[in-house]
Subunit: 111 residues, 2 copies
DNA sequence: CTGCATCCTCGCCGATACTG
DNA sequence: CAGTATCGGCGAGGATGCAG
């Protein structure tokens, strides 16, 4: 008895944890976002500065998805100007270790 | 002195091993393909049978990409009818361990 | 500073038919 | 059995502008 893909029947993508995990970190900018947040909490604009090339729109969208998936926490200080700090949840921390192993693999892969 | 995303300058996607690894396993069917091949070598049609919903076109394309990226080996027996066996390279085997950790994480995540 | 609303492009992927 | 060829939809993501 293996992992039973035959049992996934119809919706393979939904049914299998691997596909689900891939979907969660699969967004174009999610890898780098999680990786940065694994080091420290970061504010929105600082995050934008740390990720050259990302647009405000995409940063917002990807953060919202990560928040919905329970990977990222959002802490709002209701001041003027507003101040929003993003950080990883516990699940996000665990996920970041997988990304770390991907970095190790990628570095070896690239010789 | 962290991991230095600030040093990625222009093309973040190309420069960072995490993004590269994500790109390699990011195809819609690559996760399940690698996962199946981590158990045993499989022929083309058997693979197609094991992945409900995939088309011949996509199976071919994804296998070609995985082959190009050095994840999958292709062994052709030049007989009639033809017989093609797919298996993982050593790099593919290492990569499959990361997928395994993603399965573990995904299962916990889903409770 | 931190967002949301629109519009538009581009390439991944699906459906289908054909081949050695 | 193991592919290739062609057509087309659809959605992720980019550019830009406005708002609290």
């Amino acid at each position: 008895m293996g992992k039973g893909y035959g049992d996934c029947s119809l919706e393979v993508t939904r049914a299998c944890p691997i596909e689900m995990t891939l979907h969660i970190i699969g967004g174009k900018w999610k890898g780098i976002i999680i990786d940065i947040l694994s080091e420290k909490s970061v504010r929105f604009n600082e995050l934008k500065r740390l990720i050259p090339g990302i647009t405000q729109r995409m940063l917002t969208l990807q953060l919202r998805e990560l928040e919905t998936d329970g990977i990222v926490k959002r802490k709002v200080e209701d001041t003027v100007p507003p101040k929003v700090e993003y950080s990883l949840t516990d699940q996000g921390e665990n996920l970041s270790r997988i990304l770390e192993s991907m970095r190790v693999w990628g570095n070896k892969y690239y010789k």
